[in-house]
């Protein structure tokens, strides 16, 4: 009696498959060819855009970085004003933070919500080493001494935070590191206010100074940041394709398999923490020197959210994506959304683009647009005929509010109610069937414009957050891997 149902297998040799791949008995090779050639089947954009896409793909990583760096250097000579230059500086600082965060989150897969504390540590450490805060005469180290000292200290701080966290994964790591980030803000707020300044911060920080030269202009800091960002990206690119980079990604993909493949998982995680901390601290030093002041609130959760928004928008796991995403987010957030006119362009542009991309067939798109325009003019004319105060406030602002959107004399109350109704209609829009959705879209669009003109435009700080949120929602639906990210499979197949 044998467990083998058909008796012991015949002693005949198995077919020599590998030697004769085309042989009649061997399996047909290339059954998964269709899967294998997927890169060639990838869809490109239609018409000439696809050609541009193909051409861009042929350019290697390094030439692209060089071109991006050149654009960054040339940009100020196109006549950027003081405000634009400041936006550029802030955007570059956040981009530097995002490429550092990409090590921890994008490569090692560790959800580190305390990351911004390393940025703060770099800024405060530089501030202490380059101001009159410590001792009677203060410490005024030149940059070539203070920058390396701060960055190396940050690496050790990264190890210190990583050590207790190295066995934590996922939610636990996120919440523990979030505590760490908040602890940093509390620390700077409350501990030794003669040295750290408490809530008033440190406001007498030297500029970056080396070999008798000082960096005092915003243009100077802009160029410095462009160069530092390009260098850090180059460094990270070399790391990404080295054994360290592969180990980081292997740990992200499957820690157990990584450990079985000779990778010391905990040490590799610690290296990611330290690497991210070093980049963040470097960004902090330049930030502190440029601002000439640091405050605890500069290193709180809002900045963390911006960095994460940039990283996710650009594509976690991609250096170029992290930098590009952060630049886009910051230029929109800091540059465009502060100015009501630009913010309006962005708002209406985003709505139009979404409609253009999603609404088919063209007849329906044209119908919805025409109906919305008609509804606006009709509503405005009727409201103006009934009571002049119903459209009073519109006459001061732009053309749109003057002729199309109803902006009453006291827009606040009406705008608040409009906001509530808008949210209800948006929910209804998602719930109803296709035909009613088209019909409901028209008043919804008009209502959105109404809320924008009455309320949102008057509250830029809230509007900015909402807009970044809206952009991320659109992005997640249109391109979940981010601007420059690679599509990833999350579930083990």
């Amino acid at each position: 009696m044998s467990v083998y149902p058909q008796g012991p297998p015949d002693s005949q040799e198995p077919p020599d498959i590998l030697e004769s791949p085309q042989g009649a008995r061997g399996p047909r090779l290339g059954v998964d060819e269709w899967v294998a050639r997927r890169a060639g089947r990838r869809e490109y954009l239609p018409s000439w855009l696809g050609g541009v896409q193909r051409a861009l793909e042929r350019i290697g990583w390094w030439p692209r970085l060089a071109v991006a760096g050149l654009i960054g250097v040339v940009l100020p000579s196109l006549g950027l004003g003081g405000f634009q230059l400041q936006v550029g500086i802030d955007a570059l600082v956040i981009a530097l933070l995002a490429v550092g965060l990409n090590i921890v989150v994008g490569w090692a897969g560790l959800l580190d919500l305390g990351y911004i504390a390393f940025f703060g540590f770099g800024a405060y450490a530089f501030a202490l080493l380059s101001s009159g805060q410590i001792g009677s005469a203060g410490i005024h180290l030149p940059a070539y001494a203070s920058l390396p000292a701060v960055v190396i200290a940050a690496a050790f701080l990264g190890l210190g935070v990583g050590l207790p966290s190295r066995r934590l994964i996922g939610d636990y790591l996120a919440i523990v590191t979030l505590f760490f980030g908040e602890a940093f803000v509390e620390f700077t707020n409350n501990v030794d206010s003669t040295k750290l300044g408490g809530p008033n911060g440190i406001t007498t920080i030297d500029p970056i100074r080396a070999f008798g030269a000082q960096l005092t202009t915003n243009a100077g800091y802009y160029y410095l940041l462009v160069i530092v960002l390009v260098v850090i990206m180059a460094v990270l690119r070399r790391l990404e394709t080295s054994r360290t980079g592969r180990a980081w990604r292997a740990v992200r993909e499957d820690p157990l398999a990584a450990a079985s493949m000779t990778i010391p998982v905990n040490r590799v995680k610690l290296m990611a923490f330290a690497g991210g901390a070093m980049v963040a601290a470097l960004a902090g030093t330049i930030y502190a020197a440029q601002q000439a002041s640091v405050f605890p609130t500069d290193f709180d959760t809002p900045i963390l959210i911006l960095v994460y928004a940039g990283l996710i928008l650009g594509g976690a796991g991609s250096i170029a994506g992290a930098a590009a995403g952060a630049l886009v987010v910051m230029v929109i957030y800091d540059g465009l959304l502060r100015n009501p006119t630009y913010a309006g362009y962005l708002f209406y542009g985003l709505i139009l683009l979404t409609l253009l991309a999603r609404l088919r067939p063209w007849r329906r798109l044209a119908g919805v647009l025409a109906a919305t325009v008609a509804l606006g003019f009709a509503a405005h004319a009727i409201a103006a005929a009934i009571s002049n105060s119903a459209v009073a406030a519109g006459s001061q602002s732009g053309w749109l509010a003057h002729h199309w959107v109803i902006v009453p004399a006291s827009p606040q109350t009406a705008g608040n109610w409009g906001f509530v109704v808008l949210i209800c209609t948006l929910i209804a829009l998602v719930q109803v069937g296709s035909r009613w959705r088209t019909v409901l879209l028209v008043p919804t669009l008009y209502l959105a414009s109404f809320v924008w003109e009455t309320r949102l435009i008057a509250e830029p700080s809230i509007t900015r957050q909402l807009m970044i949120g809206a952009i991320l929602i659109v992005m997640m639906n249109a391109r979940p891997q981010g601007l420059l990210g690679q599509r990833r499979v999350e579930v083990a197949l």
Binding site: M1, S2, V3, Y4, P8, P9, P14, P15, D16, I17, L18, P21, G26, P27, L29, V31, D32, V35, A36, R38, A39, V235, R238, L239, S242, R243, T244, R246, A247, R249, A250, E253, D254, L256, A257, A258, A259, S260, M261, T262, I263, P264, V265, M271, G275, G317, Q486, R488, V489, A492, L493
Partner: protein, 271 residues
């Protein structure tokens, strides 16, 4: 088929026991794998086969007993150290680095065998460049072990785009990149079609002959077990119930009982 273990066995499990709470997963297990020997572990589901692999590779430290590899005890050492010493494994449920390219999957497994620091890699110092060249060559070599199956144009594709059978092959290639002396294969033929199963049988033989590794293989497909094994060990409830050549073990009453739930003579009486 059976070879007498002439020298010190590559791997020796000595009275190995492991409990999860009240559940005794392994008890007093003895097992040897000789140099370039292929030993199969069979047994019904839940018999503790994969647990044996997990204890050998350091995923679980044993409660008692010892694991000796090349004469030295490795019980309780961390997984990456054990892998570095020369024990590589594949997984029953595939555990590839899905979002890395095929060749990166293999190159990642050389981490323990290389030494370049991050600074050396960034500056492309000589040691980093040399290691990178060697690692690339090693990866290409182990991938070419599977001939056309993992041919060059697949190297830069993400691992998730491979077919199921190719993922199993890639797992073996990745394990080979750690330069093992002992290879643990956890159901290498699971989910394969008959032709692919034949191929994997042949591959296991070639691994021993060409790569000169000892192999411990868990397998349910008796074609494969019969085709490759020098020795077969049967487990049930964490206890070794039979050991020897395939035919002897396959017809051993305890093995039949473990699989069928009845003693073979009782079964025969019923019919």
């Amino acid at each position: 088929m059976s070879q007498e273990p002439a020298r010190e066995p590559v791997l020796a499990l000595d009275h190995l026991s492991l409990s999860f709470g009240g559940l005794r997963a392994l008890s007093e297990l003895d097992l040897q794998v000789g140099d370039r020997e292929i030993v199969s572990v069979i047994g019904p589901n839940g018999a503790g086969k994969t647990t044996v692999f997990n204890v050998i590779t350091g995923v679980y430290p044993p409660n008692s007993g010892d694991v000796r590899f090349g004469g030295a005890s490795i019980a309780g050492r961390p997984s990456h150290v054990i892998a570095r010493l020369g024990i590589a494994r594949t997984f029953q449920t595939l555990r590839l680095f899905q979002n890395m390219s095929v060749i990166e999957n293999v190159m990642a497994a050389t981490y323990g065998g290389t030494k370049a620091t991050p600074a050396e890699s960034i500056l492309r110092l000589p040691r980093a460049r040399r290691e990178e060249r060697e690692v690339r060559a090693l990866a290409e070599e182990v991938l070419s072990f599977f001939g056309q199956r993992l041919a060059g144009y697949r190297w830069d594709q993400p691992a998730y785009s491979l077919s199921y059978a190719n993922r199993r092959r890639l797992e073996i290639a990745r394990a080979l990149a750690t330069r093992p002396r002992l290879l643990l294969l956890d159901e290498p033929a699971a989910g394969m079609n008959p032709a692919e199963t034949h191929e994997i049988t042949e591959v296991i033989g070639r691994l021993r002959d060409e790569r000169e590794v000892a192999i411990l293989v868990i397998e349910h497909d008796m074609h494969v077990v019969a085709g490759v094994s020098d020795r077969v060990v049967a487990l049930d409830h964490g206890v070794k119930i039979a050991e020897g050549g395939f035919d002897a073990v396959a017809s051993h009453p305890a093995v039949v009982e473990a699989y069928m739930g009845r003693h073979p003579e009782e079964l025969a009486e019923e019919h």
